[in-house]
Amino acid sequence: MPSIKINGRDIEVEEGLTVLQACEEAGVEIPRFCYHERLSIAGNCRMCLVEMEPSPKPIASCAMPINDGMVIHTDTDLVKKAREGVMEFLLINHPLDCPICDQGGECDLQDQAMGYGLDKSRFLESKRAVKNKYLGPLVSTIMTRCIHCTRCIRFAQEIAGVPELGATGRGENMEVGTYVEKALSSELSGNLVDLCPVGALTSKPYEFKARSWELVKTQSIDVFDAMGSNIRIDSRGSEVMRVLPRINNSINEEWISDKTRHACDGLGRQRLDRPYVRRNGKLEEESWDGVLSVIAEKMINTSPKRMAAIAGDLVDCESLVSLKDLMQTLGCNNLDCRQDSGAFGNPRSSYIFNSGIKGIDRADVILLIGCNPRWEAPVLNARIRKQYLNGAIIGVIGPEFDLTFPFEHLSPDLKEIKNMLEHPSEFSDKLAKARRPMLVLGSGALAREDGEAILGAARDLAERVNIVNSEWNGFNVLQRAASRVGGLDLGFVPKTNKDLGTREILRAAEKKEIDVIYLLGSDEIEMDRLGDAFVIYQGHHGDAGAHRADAILPGAAYTEKNGTYVNLEGRCQRALRAVFPPGEAKEDWAIIRALSERIGKKLPFDNLLQVRERMSEVNPIFSNVNKISEASWGEFGSRGEIKDSEFIQPIENFYMTDVISRASATMAECTEVALAKKEKAA
């Protein structure tokens, strides 16, 4: 390990670091604008200058690799003077509009100008002004503020895989933009706003809404896909103002998708803020007391065989365990947390992303089966792309999508899995020869009628080509619903073959064999198939479920409760409450607990701690918070035939997949832009 001297202190650092990184390790902070640890090095802002002996001139530390015996100074007069010089140049053309700039208070330039800026300007000429650019409905631009760090350009090209941004013109006339006006075609465009070190790129939906210092910051977990991205919810009073990513290298690194970031305006619209009961075909407002008695009476007087419960995609594990316990004490096992009836098996490894999201960074051959990760988990897709850039080979079975990286399209037909199993192909050879082969099975494939067979075939293929061995398990299911893995872990599924799952519940309801259906945040099933059953809807938005409901229990959205979610890799994480539910709405597990008391089957827990103890009792993984619990390999899936049936895209529109994003005006706008783009291309 090379040893270098920083400010008179000797330290040993890893080979291949840059001076800036080494300084960071030594605890010396270096100011910077263009350098970002997840982007390539540009070395164009010159803010990171340090002194290196015996060089007479300061060097850009972000672009200088370390060498054994290097002597670096970061605290000399020369360094200070050099940085002050750079800062003065940067400020020449930067407007002094901090009071009206959204970045104010969280601006790198503002912060660093405090350290290195002069208190007055010596520049008497006129500043340049740059026309603003249109980058779509999410990113607002004030390009006069741009300092040409090129972070946004590098992000679009390297991470998002949409090389649409660039710097045109030269010298004083250099401008960052798309040249030809258009919205960025990325599901990750919101991250540009975080990356921009100044206020040139700011969030359009959040524009002029709040100041960063008046927001309450809550660390939480995202629910718009199954990744469990770590987020920070910024709220003011009872309103969620914005959602930002938190760094978690094992999950989302520091990115989040545009839906995660910008669907939050949907939290304030179409909310269910009081209980309702349907009388004479019309929903009428009701008191908690009233609605609970109506439901309790119904449930007491219905045979458990003629009742069922379906849980939706955004539900927390606390409510799942509560509802499951309630239904089971009543003797009803017609439960399902899978609105799409996706196949799964008994060992946990059959429904999680076994390699872990971080495992993608080690995979060398990746086979994607029946999924579109770009829409089902955009941040995960960016990680696959990163691995593609590192040399991984990628193959796709199933429909073709623009995944932002090239791949071998092996077959549009899922039968190809069986083919590969029976007759080794070129690609299966590649898998077999790989060190860490990986298979990613989409939830859309598992949701088909022949999902069991697809699951079984994929499992066998995994064994055949060494995707699973003693050190590595690359068998990965790409779940889409935030509640899914948790629901399966808690056993929120039919207990035996005789009990009904979603598919059978709908069939039975159509035939009027079900009298009471409890929808826990479930809006994505075919409501017109519920027959004349009495439908109880518990949830937070007036969407499909509430429209069909006979009784409505207003619950809390993910930002309004302390909830547990298990992400697609099987990591149990806790979301924290940022704001209170609106009106009379309540935390969901408490609603179910209250109902159980009415029914006379009081659930044995009185507080969140006890609910969580109960969860750990059902499955010990719930005691293992923030970690991935071991999942053993085993037999699962069926050996049945994979049918010809056409693949059904689980997501038609990335921007609107659930009650919150469907209520969001921002997401509606994104949808419009995306549609217009599609039409233009067609």
Binding site: K131, P163, E164, L165, G166, T168, G169, N173, V180
Partner: protein
């Protein structure tokens, strides 16, 4: 130099003539496999020539597609270099140097002559689409200053009269002689050699 970032872009379709296709192949072949993008500048030049002296957006997109480059990367190159014209230019693109050596030697008169004769100012194109007048930085012919470039030719040692006559010749379809307009041989000193005379005599005699 002000580059036009917006404005007329030209969306009509564009593709290389078969001759230019061959030339493009030659350029691309100069670079190793997978490094096609390196040929972007010569290809843009070909496109500009074929397109009547300027690069339409269609032409830039075509080059990008030919070289498997993102469009924006080609726009970046085309907007960076001043010799790529992103706006339509007239049949004759008159570029007058106004840098220091040319200015000291009277580029102001050349500029005035152009403006008066053509009735346009810098950055404009005459109504008959024959002339575009552009102010440029040093073109490297300072030794024969002042000078201007018309399409591919340099006209040097200009004054008001010679400038006007060149422009009228061009307008009437003739091709005025490029190079020095005062009968100077290439860039030798005016009035014959002033140094190295002895040596060259000896050299001649020894032959």
């Amino acid at each position: 130099m002000n580059k036009v970032i917006d404005g007329e872009m030209g969306l009509d379709s564009f593709s290389f003539s078969s001759q230019n296709k061959d030339l493009a192949e030659v350029e691309i072949a100069k670079y190793p496999e997978g490094r096609k993008a390196s040929a972007v500048m010569p290809l843009l030049e070909l496109a500009q020539r074929q397109n009547g002296g300027w690069l339409s957006r269609a032409a830039m997109d075509y080059v990008a597609e030919t070289l498997d480059m993102p469009f924006i990367k080609v726009y970046e190159v085309a907007t960076f270099y001043t010799m790529y014209n992103l706006k339509k230019v007239g049949k004759f693109h008159v570029q007058v140097c106004t840098n220091l050596p040319c200015w000291l030697r009277g580029s102001d008169q050349v500029v005035d002559a152009c403006k008066n004769q053509l009735n346009i100012s810098f950055g404009e194109t005459s109504e008959d689409a024959m002339f575009t007048l552009t102010e440029v930085e040093c073109l490297g012919a300072c030794v024969n200053a002042p000078m201007m470039q018309v399409n591919d030719d340099y006209y040097e040692d200009l004054n008001e009269v010679s400038t006007k006559s060149i422009l009228s010749e061009l307008a009437s379809g003739n091709s005025p002689k490029p190079g020095s307009q005062i009968d100077r041989k290439s860039c030798e000193p005016i009035g014959g050699l002033t140094s190295l005379i002895q040596q060259s005599k000896e050299a001649i005699e020894s032959k």
